[in-house]
Each structure stands twice: as C-alpha cells, then as structure tokens.
Assembly symmetry: C2
Homo-oligomer: 459 residues x 2
C-alpha cells in the first residue's frame, strides 16, 4: 500500500540551529512540488489516521521475527498500567535489576571533579580513545584479572555490557550459530535475532529456530548437560547467572572451556554479577586455563557500583583468540569499536577509575554487601513460605519456583494483590517458565515491606 498526499505548506522552523543573532527571527513558506513519479495513490483511511505515505524500503525481516517488546520495557509498561489503575498504591519494584543505593562519594567526587575540569583550559579534553582511557584499561586489567595474563590492550571500555553484546553480534555477523543458557538475559537472543543468525520464532516451543537453548534448571543444577548440546560457533554464558542467580563452579567452567575447545567455539562470558560471588566460584572465565583461546568476557560497573545510569562497562578480547583462519578476533573487534562507537563518556570513565582505587573498591564492596543482605531477607522469606528457592547466594537475584504455574500469571497475581513488581521467569526463555525472579536491589525498608506482603499473599 503506497499512498501519499502532500501539498501542504509548512513554515520553516525558528530553531537553535540558527545563529544566535537570528534565533526566532526566520520564517519562510515553501511548498513541495507535487509528486512526479506517479506512485501517489489516494485510498480511504481510518478516520483517526491521516493519509500515510510508505517508502519502498522493505522492513528488515529479522526485526519482524522478534516477539513482543523487549522484556523490561514490557514490565515497565505493565507497572505503569498498574499505577494508573491503583494511583494510591505503594508500588515496590523488585523487577528489573535496577540499583537503588547512592553511589559512594569517593566515586561521585571523581566525576564531579572531572565534570568541573571540562570547563577549564587545563582540564578540558575532547575525543578519547575509542577503546577507553589507557589508565582505566590498565586498572581494569590489574584489578579484575590480576595475574591471569589479561593486559591493558585486551580491555575495551564501553558504555555497558548490553551495548557490547550488540557490538559483538555485529562483529560475528549473520552467518554463524549461537547457544544460550535457557533461561538467560534476553539481549543475547534478541540481538542474535536482529543480526539474522536465527530462524523464525516457534510458538509451540517458544524458541527461535537455529538457536541452541542449553537448558539450565534446578534438575541439572543450572548447568547444561553438555553431552546433549549441539556445537555452535558462539556460546553465551552468564555466571553468576541472570536470572537464576546460579554461579558455575570451577569444574563446570573447565568443562565448558573444554567443550568450546573441542568444538572450536567462542564463549561470550558475561560476568556482570561476579562481585556478588560469596563462595569460591571463579569470578572470571579467564581463571580457567586455556580460556583465553576460546573466550571473550563482558562485564560492567552497573551492578558493582550502581552505574546503571552512569553507563560504564568493558569487554575483554584476549589476543590469543583467533578465528578459524587465524585472524585475531580482537583486531576485528577493535575495528567495530572504532567504527560503531566513540568511547564511553569521559566523566563516567573518571568514575570508573575511582571505583578501582583502594577506597573505591572498599566502598563498592560495602554497597554490594548491603544488597546481599537484602538477598538473604528475600531468600528467608520464600524459604519460610515453603517455596523452592534458588540463586541469591552468589547473585542479587532470587529464583523462586511456582511449579505448574505460568510465570506471567504469577507475576500478575503478585502485582495485582501486593503491588510488587517482579520479573516472570518465562521472559528469560522457556526454561524459566514456572519461576519468578525477585531482584534484591531496593531500599531496605522496601525489601522488608515486600517480604511482609509476600508473606501475607502466600502464607
């Protein structure tokens, strides 16, 4: 349907694009010549809509494969609708994993200082390196990868792991196969669909064709049975896991690395929750010998330092990682970063550097400790109600089982009856069906109040 109706005359704007002297002073009336190509076709349109012109550009078929909206905006939409319905309700969100506690002053003061410096001749700087500030890259390498052989040059600083996951997908392109944990953070699957690595969504199994879903449930201790997993080019693996909160043990990660080596696969390891680990689970895939030849790691300060809004993350692409023709993956990723990105905000990077100072690390651990206490409260709540509860120990997420029930039904029941926002497990993949993810990010009072409401609902 191609329709067009355009003989309107629109006055040109007075705008800030104008020189200062003539802001708001310019108006000119111009008409577009009538369409010459004969494309124009008048059709009747619904009364509420104006006539519409369509370009001849075909919609990207991969976009059309995507199901509904991205999970978290969908939850935000339902939350808004709930607030409209119950304007007086005290809604508490333990849904999207959004940090709530102030950023320690030792970190914000570095950002304040950097912001101020930008207004001075000595302190001003323009474009930074696309890969990030050298000092910050070195600090990330030494702080998080100490003696693991990861160097400054292997680190690419970014505006967060979500952006980096997409940049990695651009790097990989459309002609490869990928595996994800099921359930998993939706950005892996959705970005894969967008890049054209998958087939259509199959409603009966709730899976996309051509993605290997590695089932991670309570039955297998949230680690996939690799003997049943088909080879793929790329394996997305998040530990501690979002949403299940499970962290893989050293032995499990050794199996995963060996599996990747046997298959010549690349692991994209998401360690965005690594600082929440309490036991001796590895904090980085690079603790596993040989991982540098088969793994990329992406991480972020979002959950470590409350940087969800500040935006700062990084990706490690070891120089030892090669494509099948021997070409270093890092070299292509560097090209992607230089072409598709212009570096993280210099103010955020100043904050990142402060995070990694001895005082910054101490302050981060304190806030993480606070959220871990929240986690305990939530775990105890559901345990006391007789639920099977997973996660929590090494992650800010508690994974609660509602056997035989639909996740979205439970989500709606909780929201409707307690004004609490959670996240339906099935939003993370079919393997999450029957579960609810409860986030431990919240003020203490809210977490205690939520605990009370859960107890009232499910007593």
């Amino acid at each position: 349907m191609s329709l067009m109706q355009h003989s309107a005359s629109i006055s040109s704007s007075s705008s800030a694009f104008l020189g200062e002297s003539n802001i708001f002073s310019r108006t000119s009336k111009v008409s577009l010549p009538s369409n010459k190509s004969g494309l124009c076709k008048c059709v009747s349109s619904p009364p509420t809509e104006k006539t519409a012109y369509n370009t001849k550009v075909a919609r990207n078929a991969n976009m059309a494969k995507l199901q509904a909206g991205y999970l978290f905006p969908e939850i935000a939409r339902r939350r808004e609708a709930h607030i409209l319905k119950y304007p007086d309700a005290q809604v508490i969100s333990l849904g999207i994993g959004d940090t709530t506690e102030p950023i320690p002053k030792v970190i914000t003061s570095a950002m304040t200082k950097r912001s101020h410096a930008l207004s001075t001749l000595e302190g001003y700087s323009g474009y930074g390196a696309e890969q990030g500030d050298k000092q910050l890259r070195a600090a990330i390498a030494s702080t998080f990868y100490g003696d693991l052989g990861i160097e400054e040059g292997d680190i690419f600083v970014s505006d967060g792991a979500k952006s980096d996951i997409s940049r990695l997908q651009i790097l990989f392109g459309s002609n490869l196969t990928m595996a994800v944990q099921d359930p998993s953070y939706p950005a892996y699957v959705d970005s894969s669909v967008i890049m054209g690595q998958t087939g259509q969504f199959q409603k009966d199994v709730e899976k996309y064709c051509n993605i290997e879903y590695m089932r991670c449930t309570w039955e297998n201790g949230f680690f996939p049975d690799l003997s049943t997993v088909s080879r793929t080019d790329v394996i997305f693996f998040c530990s501690p896991n979002n949403p299940t909160g499970a962290s893989a043990t050293r032995e499990q990660l050794m199996k995963l690395v060996q599996f990747a080596k046997d298959n010549g696969s690349i692991i994209v390891y998401d360690s965005a929750y690594a600082m929440y680990i309490s036991d001796d689970s590895p904090r980085s895939i690079f603790e596993i010998p040989g991982a540098k030849e088969v793994a990329i790691e992406t991480s972020s300060l979002s959950k470590f330092a409350g940087f969800t809004g500040v935006r700062l993350g990084w990706t490690v692409v070891p120089k030892e990682l090669h494509f099948s023709d021997g070409f270093p993956v890092a070299k292509d990723f560097n090209r992607i970063v230089c072409t598709c990105f212009n570096g993280a905000s210099n103010i955020a990077q100043a904050g990142g550097l402060a995070c990694l100072s001895p005082e910054g690390l101490k302050a981060m651990h304190k806030v993480i400790g606070f959220y871990k206490e929240n986690t305990e409260i939530i775990v105890d709540t559901f345990n006391s109600l007789g639920f099977s509860v997973y996660g929590g120990k090494n992650a800010p997420y508690v994974w609660v089982h509602f056997p035989g029930r639909s996740s979205w039904d439970v989500f709606s029941e909780i929201l409707e009856k307690t004004h609490l926002v959670t996240t339906p497990g099935s939003g993370f993949g079919p393997g999450g069906e029957g579960f609810i993810r409860v986030s431990a990010f919240g003020h203490r009072g809210n977490v205690l109040e939520a605990s009370k409401r859960f107890k009232q609902l499910y007593k």
Copy 2:
C-alpha cells in the same frame, strides 16, 4: 590450520571479584584436561610466535572487506609515529575534528550537580529510559525543531551520532542498498560494509560494490547531480558536510526530498554541524515539507557544546516514516535502542539539558563563534596563498584543493615539513582526492601558528 598446545597450569587470580575479605588471598592450581577430540595437531610455528590455537568460527566476511583502519585512528597512528621521529616538534592537530575549548560553566555545573546528586538518596537514579530522559527529549524537540512538528516521542537520545549510525544500520539490515555523498564521513560507508550491504572494495575506482557514490565536488557545487544517481533504499546525506564544509541550500534539499519520494528512499540526514550555519541554509531536513515521510535526522552536541568526550547525541525518527509494508520505522528503531543500548549517561544528559537552557544556548553560540573566527583565519590563509578554498562559511571545516596531487602525499608533506596534522581528503572517499581538510577546532594561538607555518610552506 588448527593447532593447540595446552597442558599449562595457570594459577587462578586473586582479584577484586573476590569478596572484600579475601582479596588477594586465593590461589589454586588447576590443569585443563588434555584435548579429547583429536583436533589437536602440532605444527612448527614461526620462531617469534607462540603456538596458536584457532577456533572454528569463521571470520565475518564483511569485516574482511574493510580497507585499512578506520580513518581517524590511522591518522592518530601517523601522528604518533611523527612525534617519535621528532620528539621536540610542536605538533599542532587540525586533523580529526576534535573540539579544544572548555565547556561553558553553565553546562558543566549541571553535570557536576548531577554527579554529586548520585551520591545522595534523593538524587540517585538507576537505569533511565533507553530513549533518553523525557525532559531532554522535549527540550531537543522544541529547541531544534520548534514548529516543524517533531515531538518528544520522535527523539531518541544517544551517546552520539556515530553510535546511532551503526544502530540505524542494524535497523536496516543487510538486504538493502545505500548511497553516500562522495566524499563523506567514513562511518556511513564502513558501517554499511560491516552490515553486509556492500560487495568487495574495488581498488581501481576506490569504491565498494553496491554503494552509490554521489559525487560532490567543486564542479557541481558539492551537491550531487541527482539525474545521474541510481535509486537506493537509503541515502546518507550530511549538511553542512563533513569534510567539504558545504551546506545544501533549501532548493537543493527540496530536490533531495523529492528524489527520495520519487524513489521511495529513506534519507539519513546528519546535521551534526547545523549550528555552524551562517546563511539561510536549512538547519534541519525537517524544514523541508514532506521530509518527515522520507527522512531520519541524526545530530549531536559534540561540535555544538564540546561534548566530543562527554558523548551525547540524538536521532529523530518521525512517526510519519514507514517501511514499504506500512510498518513505522520508529517502532523498529525503538526496539533496536531498547535491545542494543541502555540509554546515554545520566550525567551527560543533565549536561545536555543545560545546553538547551537560554544561558546554555547563548554559551554554545559563543564557543561556536570562536571556532568560526578560527575558520576565517584558515580560509584567509589559504586564499592569500592562492589556493582554491571551499567550506568554512557554514562549517568548522576548510576544504583546500591541491589539484593533481595525492591527498596522502600532501598530508605527509604538511606533517613532515610543518608538524601540522590535517586530514587527507581521499580518506573520505575517492571524490576527496586532491583535497586536504583543515579543521578549525583549535586554540587561537595554535591556529595562528598553523597559519604561519602554512604560509611558510606554500608561499
């Protein structure tokens, strides 16, 4: 070639990922089991290189099409090499268009305030909307698109135009065709190659197959002869142009919009230099009637407010813009933004809002005025030397003609003999051959010194 050698035992790291109590306290020695798949093959390796393992993941063939490095990192590399060669030289860069003047205090103080607020209970905020802060989106709409019918919901705030160009390419996918001005900002072509929209690079003509290069030279007043341009799905168009500094007139843009309508194409209009316009050239493609049905506009505060390092831009996708099946482009772009991005830094957004206050606008215009004085100095310099000089009037770039010479040769000559960094015109496409782009971003003293050196070299 698949080779592998891994029986090393690597001690696991002590790292910040560990709980605070046990930082630097953990060491364990583990060995990876030997490879079981029989993939392992020992081959002799060059003496300087360790044995290398290659995954079986094929390199993205589109990445292999890219020529050399992205332009500006390549220039930075040559600059570094020059400094190594002449450690005492006072190198002045008028190369990459990088702002040099401090950000006005009215703007930085908003960022200082926001940074500080993040350390308080009342001022802290986590994830913002992926599309950007509502207030900022509204301010962009009203400031830059006043009465042009662009609304808050049409604006997507980002970390800069370069990132948005890539996100637009992800939106479009690989199955469409594109046109660019020749010469043009390299990110359009390179991101198109990466997304697989093009064929191989053809060395004889210095063009990629399947890209329509719209020649914009002094012969045609830097506006393409549209009667010779083939239809493409997407048309990248930057005005005022980087690198030529030429801005399209209202009549030219009306022709462009009509051309897009006739062909059912989508224009991606880059207005990142619009505030440098001195004459009555349109500041936005949306000043042209009907443009909302065929155009996207991307812009940025980088060159308006010295935000090259702070990172803040936006893209306008009007709700009137549709794919051939009638699906709104904005709806798919929203999905891309939600899946591949997590919003611009909240501190940068606070700065952006301050830019658009009456005092912020005034301050921005003052800095822009300063750079425009620089531009005049550079234009006068080359005019006095008898060169043909273009651009400058409506843009911070001066486009100098060296007829019959190679741009890279001229670039090298200038660097070698004057320690001045410029940008070779051919780096922007074959249509830039024989030209040098001189950027007006610089401290006044440096611009005057550069002028002197140019005069010495070419007197």
